[in-house]
Symmetry: C2
Subunit: 142 residues, 2 copies
Amino acid sequence: MLIGELANRSDVPAKTIRYYEELGVLPPPRRTAGGYRDYDDTAVDRLGFVRAAQAAGLTLAQIRDVIALREGGIAPCSHVVALLNEKAEVVADQIASLRALQRELERLHEQARGIDPADCDPRSVCEVLAPRPGPVVRAAKE
Amino acid sequence: MLIGELANRSDVPAKTIRYYEELGVLPPPRRTAGGYRDYDDTAVDRLGFVRAAQAAGLTLAQIRDVIALREGGIAPCSHVVALLNEKAEVVADQIASLRALQRELERLHEQARGIDPADCDPRSVCEVLAPRPGPVVRAAKE
DNA sequence: CTTGACCTTCCACTGTGCTGGAACCCTTAC
DNA sequence: GTAAGGGTTCCAGCACAGTGGAAGGTCAAG
Protein backbone atom coordinates (compact mmCIF):
# COMPACT_ATOMS: atom_id res chain seq x y z
CA MET A 1 0.00 0.00 0.00
CA LEU A 2 1.25 3.49 -0.78
CA ILE A 3 1.70 6.18 1.81
CA GLY A 4 -1.62 7.84 1.03
CA GLU A 5 -3.56 4.70 1.74
CA LEU A 6 -1.65 4.11 4.94
CA ALA A 7 -2.41 7.68 5.90
CA ASN A 8 -6.10 7.06 5.35
CA ARG A 9 -6.18 3.78 7.13
CA SER A 10 -4.21 4.94 10.13
CA ASP A 11 -5.48 8.46 10.19
CA VAL A 12 -1.95 9.82 10.36
CA PRO A 13 -0.95 12.40 7.72
CA ALA A 14 1.51 11.21 5.08
CA LYS A 15 3.82 14.00 6.07
CA THR A 16 3.87 12.72 9.62
CA ILE A 17 4.49 9.17 8.47
CA ARG A 18 7.61 10.29 6.64
CA TYR A 19 8.63 12.23 9.71
CA TYR A 20 8.24 9.12 11.88
CA GLU A 21 10.41 7.19 9.48
CA GLU A 22 13.07 9.85 9.71
CA LEU A 23 12.94 9.62 13.51
CA GLY A 24 13.23 5.85 13.43
CA VAL A 25 9.75 5.29 14.81
CA LEU A 26 8.66 3.59 11.61
CA PRO A 27 10.96 1.28 9.67
CA PRO A 28 11.74 2.35 6.11
CA PRO A 29 9.43 0.33 3.90
CA ARG A 30 10.45 -1.19 0.63
CA ARG A 31 9.97 0.88 -2.48
CA THR A 32 8.11 0.35 -5.70
CA ALA A 33 9.99 0.45 -8.99
CA GLY A 34 9.09 4.11 -9.20
CA GLY A 35 10.53 4.91 -5.81
CA TYR A 36 7.26 5.08 -3.88
CA ARG A 37 7.10 3.83 -0.31
CA ASP A 38 5.23 0.51 -0.25
CA TYR A 39 3.86 -0.53 3.13
CA ASP A 40 2.42 -3.77 4.41
CA ASP A 41 -0.25 -4.17 7.05
CA THR A 42 2.15 -4.19 9.96
CA ALA A 43 2.67 -0.49 9.36
CA VAL A 44 -0.93 0.09 10.42
CA ASP A 45 -0.32 -1.77 13.67
CA ARG A 46 2.82 0.17 14.23
CA LEU A 47 1.10 3.49 13.86
CA GLY A 48 -1.56 2.27 16.24
CA PHE A 49 1.12 1.54 18.77
CA VAL A 50 2.63 4.97 18.31
CA ARG A 51 -0.72 6.57 18.96
CA ALA A 52 -1.29 4.48 22.06
CA ALA A 53 2.15 5.36 23.35
CA GLN A 54 1.57 9.05 22.70
CA ALA A 55 -1.72 8.80 24.52
CA ALA A 56 0.29 7.57 27.49
CA GLY A 57 2.39 10.71 27.22
CA LEU A 58 5.55 9.15 25.83
CA THR A 59 7.68 11.27 23.53
CA LEU A 60 8.56 10.09 20.05
CA ALA A 61 12.13 9.61 21.18
CA GLN A 62 10.97 7.29 23.95
CA ILE A 63 8.67 5.47 21.58
CA ARG A 64 11.52 5.04 19.15
CA ASP A 65 13.64 3.48 21.89
CA VAL A 66 10.89 1.08 22.89
CA ILE A 67 10.50 0.02 19.28
CA ALA A 68 14.24 -0.39 18.94
CA LEU A 69 14.21 -2.83 21.85
CA ARG A 70 11.46 -4.83 20.25
CA GLU A 71 13.28 -4.88 16.93
CA GLY A 72 16.39 -5.96 18.78
CA GLY A 73 14.44 -9.01 19.93
CA ILE A 74 13.89 -7.85 23.50
CA ALA A 75 10.41 -7.59 24.96
CA PRO A 76 10.32 -3.96 26.03
CA CYS A 77 7.65 -4.43 28.68
CA SER A 78 9.71 -3.68 31.76
CA HIS A 79 11.27 -0.68 30.06
CA VAL A 80 7.83 0.56 29.19
CA VAL A 81 6.62 0.14 32.73
CA ALA A 82 9.56 2.21 33.94
CA LEU A 83 8.72 4.93 31.41
CA LEU A 84 5.14 4.94 32.56
CA ASN A 85 6.18 5.32 36.16
CA GLU A 86 8.48 8.16 35.23
CA LYS A 87 5.71 9.81 33.33
CA ALA A 88 3.30 9.36 36.21
CA GLU A 89 5.67 11.29 38.44
CA VAL A 90 6.03 14.08 35.95
CA VAL A 91 2.29 14.30 35.53
CA ALA A 92 1.80 14.45 39.29
CA ASP A 93 4.28 17.33 39.46
CA GLN A 94 2.58 19.14 36.64
CA ILE A 95 -0.77 18.82 38.28
CA ALA A 96 0.69 20.15 41.50
CA SER A 97 2.14 23.22 39.72
CA LEU A 98 -1.08 23.85 37.91
CA ARG A 99 -3.00 23.64 41.11
CA ALA A 100 -0.64 26.11 42.71
CA LEU A 101 -1.20 28.39 39.75
CA GLN A 102 -4.91 27.91 40.12
CA ARG A 103 -4.70 29.03 43.72
CA GLU A 104 -2.62 32.02 42.70
CA LEU A 105 -5.19 32.96 40.10
CA GLU A 106 -7.91 32.72 42.70
CA ARG A 107 -5.94 34.92 45.03
CA LEU A 108 -5.50 37.50 42.29
CA HIS A 109 -9.17 37.31 41.52
CA GLU A 110 -9.92 38.07 45.15
CA GLN A 111 -7.38 40.83 45.16
CA ALA A 112 -8.84 42.38 42.04
CA ARG A 113 -12.18 42.71 43.74
CA GLY A 114 -10.78 45.21 46.17
CA ILE A 115 -9.07 47.43 43.62
CA ASP A 116 -10.26 50.60 42.01
CA PRO A 117 -8.41 51.16 38.70
CA ALA A 118 -8.14 54.81 39.60
CA ASP A 119 -6.03 53.95 42.63
CA CYS A 120 -3.60 52.03 40.50
CA ASP A 121 -0.08 53.36 40.57
CA PRO A 122 1.16 53.37 36.97
CA ARG A 123 4.60 52.34 38.22
CA SER A 124 3.26 48.92 39.06
CA VAL A 125 1.47 48.81 35.66
CA CYS A 126 -1.50 47.05 37.21
CA GLU A 127 -1.99 46.32 40.88
CA VAL A 128 -4.28 43.45 40.11
CA LEU A 129 -1.12 41.49 39.51
CA ALA A 130 0.69 42.77 42.54
CA PRO A 131 3.01 40.07 43.71
CA ARG A 132 2.55 38.97 47.22
CA PRO A 133 3.10 35.83 48.98
CA GLY A 134 6.00 33.53 49.41
CA PRO A 135 7.71 31.53 46.74
CA VAL A 136 7.05 32.63 43.23
CA VAL A 137 5.37 29.90 41.27
CA ARG A 138 6.14 29.70 37.61
CA ALA A 139 3.47 28.50 35.24
CA ALA A 140 3.74 24.80 34.61
CA LYS A 141 5.32 23.85 31.34
CA GLU A 142 4.91 21.01 28.82
CA MET B 1 22.27 52.25 36.20
CA LEU B 2 23.75 50.01 33.57
CA ILE B 3 22.22 46.75 32.47
CA GLY B 4 24.43 44.63 34.71
CA GLU B 5 23.29 46.45 37.82
CA LEU B 6 19.67 46.17 36.77
CA ALA B 7 20.25 42.48 36.20
CA ASN B 8 21.60 42.13 39.73
CA ARG B 9 18.91 44.16 41.35
CA SER B 10 16.05 42.49 39.54
CA ASP B 11 17.58 39.06 39.31
CA VAL B 12 16.85 38.92 35.60
CA PRO B 13 19.79 38.14 33.28
CA ALA B 14 21.04 41.02 31.14
CA LYS B 15 20.42 38.93 28.08
CA THR B 16 16.80 38.53 29.08
CA ILE B 17 16.45 42.24 29.73
CA ARG B 18 17.57 43.02 26.18
CA TYR B 19 15.18 40.38 24.93
CA TYR B 20 12.30 41.97 26.83
CA GLU B 21 13.16 45.30 25.28
CA GLU B 22 13.06 43.73 21.84
CA LEU B 23 9.62 42.28 22.62
CA GLY B 24 8.35 45.64 23.85
CA VAL B 25 7.94 44.46 27.41
CA LEU B 26 10.54 46.92 28.60
CA PRO B 27 10.82 50.43 27.14
CA PRO B 28 14.15 51.25 25.49
CA PRO B 29 16.10 53.20 28.09
CA ARG B 30 18.22 56.22 27.31
CA ARG B 31 21.81 55.61 26.46
CA THR B 32 25.08 56.87 27.89
CA ALA B 33 27.49 58.76 25.68
CA GLY B 34 29.19 55.46 25.01
CA GLY B 35 26.00 53.80 23.86
CA TYR B 36 25.29 51.82 27.03
CA ARG B 37 21.71 51.31 28.20
CA ASP B 38 21.10 53.53 31.21
CA TYR B 39 18.12 52.56 33.36
CA ASP B 40 16.30 54.34 36.14
CA ASP B 41 14.57 52.75 39.11
CA THR B 42 11.28 52.28 37.36
CA ALA B 43 12.91 49.53 35.34
CA VAL B 44 13.22 47.49 38.52
CA ASP B 45 9.49 47.88 39.17
CA ARG B 46 8.74 46.96 35.64
CA LEU B 47 10.70 43.77 35.83
CA GLY B 48 8.93 42.98 39.08
CA PHE B 49 5.64 43.35 37.31
CA VAL B 50 6.76 41.09 34.50
CA ARG B 51 7.71 38.42 36.98
CA ALA B 52 4.40 38.71 38.79
CA ALA B 53 2.53 38.49 35.51
CA GLN B 54 4.52 35.45 34.46
CA ALA B 55 3.76 33.86 37.79
CA ALA B 56 0.10 34.30 36.92
CA GLY B 57 0.76 32.39 33.72
CA LEU B 58 0.57 35.28 31.27
CA THR B 59 2.72 35.09 28.17
CA LEU B 60 5.20 37.82 27.37
CA ALA B 61 2.98 38.88 24.49
CA GLN B 62 0.05 39.35 26.85
CA ILE B 63 2.24 41.17 29.33
CA ARG B 64 3.44 43.42 26.55
CA ASP B 65 -0.15 44.26 25.65
CA VAL B 66 -1.04 45.04 29.25
CA ILE B 67 1.95 47.33 29.49
CA ALA B 68 1.02 49.00 26.23
CA LEU B 69 -2.40 49.84 27.64
CA ARG B 70 -0.84 51.36 30.71
CA GLU B 71 1.59 53.35 28.57
CA GLY B 72 -1.32 54.48 26.48
CA GLY B 73 -2.79 56.00 29.63
CA ILE B 74 -5.45 53.35 30.18
CA ALA B 75 -5.66 51.46 33.44
CA PRO B 76 -5.37 47.86 32.22
CA CYS B 77 -7.12 46.34 35.23
CA SER B 78 -10.22 45.06 33.52
CA HIS B 79 -8.17 43.70 30.63
CA VAL B 80 -5.96 41.94 33.13
CA VAL B 81 -8.91 40.44 34.92
CA ALA B 82 -10.16 39.10 31.61
CA LEU B 83 -6.76 37.57 30.89
CA LEU B 84 -6.72 35.96 34.31
CA ASN B 85 -10.14 34.47 33.75
CA GLU B 86 -9.06 33.16 30.40
CA LYS B 87 -5.98 31.67 31.95
CA ALA B 88 -8.00 30.10 34.73
CA GLU B 89 -10.06 28.31 32.13
CA VAL B 90 -7.01 27.06 30.31
CA VAL B 91 -5.49 25.86 33.55
CA ALA B 92 -8.66 24.03 34.48
CA ASP B 93 -8.61 22.30 31.10
CA GLN B 94 -4.99 21.38 31.47
CA ILE B 95 -5.60 19.91 34.88
CA ALA B 96 -8.49 17.92 33.49
CA SER B 97 -6.34 16.51 30.66
CA LEU B 98 -3.55 15.68 33.02
CA ARG B 99 -5.93 13.92 35.31
CA ALA B 100 -7.30 11.93 32.41
CA LEU B 101 -3.75 11.02 31.53
CA GLN B 102 -3.13 10.06 35.12
CA ARG B 103 -6.10 7.70 35.01
CA GLU B 104 -4.86 6.26 31.73
CA LEU B 105 -1.44 5.66 33.26
CA GLU B 106 -3.07 3.90 36.19
CA ARG B 107 -5.07 1.76 33.85
CA LEU B 108 -1.91 0.80 31.96
CA HIS B 109 -0.20 0.05 35.21
CA GLU B 110 -3.00 -2.31 36.11
CA GLN B 111 -2.92 -3.82 32.68
CA ALA B 112 0.82 -4.37 32.86
CA ARG B 113 0.38 -6.45 35.98
CA GLY B 114 -1.47 -9.10 34.02
CA ILE B 115 1.02 -9.40 31.19
CA ASP B 116 3.82 -11.83 30.68
CA PRO B 117 6.42 -10.38 28.30
CA ALA B 118 6.65 -13.75 26.65
CA ASP B 119 3.04 -13.54 25.57
CA CYS B 120 3.64 -10.23 23.88
CA ASP B 121 2.96 -10.23 20.17
CA PRO B 122 5.83 -8.37 18.53
CA ARG B 123 3.38 -6.84 16.10
CA SER B 124 1.97 -4.71 18.85
CA VAL B 125 5.52 -3.84 20.00
CA CYS B 126 4.44 -3.97 23.61
CA GLU B 127 1.06 -4.98 24.91
CA VAL B 128 1.54 -2.98 28.06
CA LEU B 129 0.57 -0.01 25.93
CA ALA B 130 -2.28 -1.75 24.20
CA PRO B 131 -4.90 0.83 23.42
CA ARG B 132 -8.18 0.07 24.97
CA PRO B 133 -10.95 2.36 25.80
CA GLY B 134 -12.84 5.05 24.03
CA PRO B 135 -11.59 8.50 23.15
CA VAL B 136 -7.87 8.81 22.86
CA VAL B 137 -6.48 11.38 25.25
CA ARG B 138 -3.46 13.32 24.15
CA ALA B 139 -0.98 14.49 26.72
CA ALA B 140 -1.67 18.03 27.84
CA LYS B 141 0.52 20.68 26.33
CA GLU B 142 1.86 24.10 27.28
C1' DC C 1 0.44 13.53 -25.41
C1' DT C 2 -1.33 15.77 -21.69
C1' DT C 3 -3.74 16.21 -17.46
C1' DG C 4 -4.24 15.22 -12.69
C1' DA C 5 -3.53 12.67 -8.70
C1' DC C 6 -0.16 10.92 -6.26
C1' DC C 7 4.47 10.45 -4.86
C1' DT C 8 9.58 12.09 -3.99
C1' DT C 9 13.24 15.12 -1.48
C1' DC C 10 14.68 19.13 0.89
C1' DC C 11 14.45 23.24 3.48
C1' DA C 12 12.10 26.40 6.38
C1' DC C 13 8.94 27.54 9.84
C1' DT C 14 5.50 27.27 13.86
C1' DG C 15 5.26 28.70 19.32
C1' DT C 16 7.61 30.05 23.79
C1' DG C 17 11.19 32.13 26.44
C1' DC C 18 15.06 32.49 26.53
C1' DT C 19 20.46 31.25 26.04
C1' DG C 20 25.17 30.94 23.82
C1' DG C 21 28.62 32.73 21.18
C1' DA C 22 31.20 35.74 17.95
C1' DA C 23 33.09 40.01 16.99
C1' DC C 24 33.51 44.28 18.46
C1' DC C 25 33.26 48.97 21.44
C1' DC C 26 33.69 51.74 26.15
C1' DT C 27 35.65 52.72 30.52
C1' DT C 28 38.70 52.43 34.18
C1' DA C 29 42.86 51.05 36.52
C1' DC C 30 47.55 50.10 36.35
C1' DG D 1 49.66 51.16 26.22
C1' DT D 2 47.19 47.50 27.68
C1' DA D 3 44.38 44.44 30.12
C1' DA D 4 40.10 43.47 32.51
C1' DG D 5 35.51 43.76 32.88
C1' DG D 6 31.87 45.94 31.57
C1' DG D 7 28.87 46.91 27.45
C1' DT D 8 27.01 46.53 22.16
C1' DT D 9 24.89 44.01 17.97
C1' DC D 10 23.52 40.09 15.41
C1' DC D 11 22.96 35.30 14.40
C1' DA D 12 22.00 30.53 15.93
C1' DG D 13 19.88 27.16 18.54
C1' DC D 14 17.19 24.58 22.43
C1' DA D 15 12.85 21.47 23.09
C1' DC D 16 8.77 19.16 20.60
C1' DA D 17 5.96 17.31 17.04
C1' DG D 18 4.91 18.29 13.36
C1' DT D 19 3.33 21.51 9.02
C1' DG D 20 3.94 24.23 4.60
C1' DG D 21 5.70 24.79 0.33
C1' DA D 22 8.76 24.38 -3.75
C1' DA D 23 10.55 21.72 -7.43
C1' DG D 24 10.24 17.70 -9.54
C1' DG D 25 9.30 12.38 -10.63
C1' DT D 26 5.57 8.46 -11.57
C1' DC D 27 1.54 6.52 -13.12
C1' DA D 28 -3.10 5.79 -15.03
C1' DA D 29 -6.86 7.64 -17.68
C1' DG D 30 -8.57 10.16 -21.54
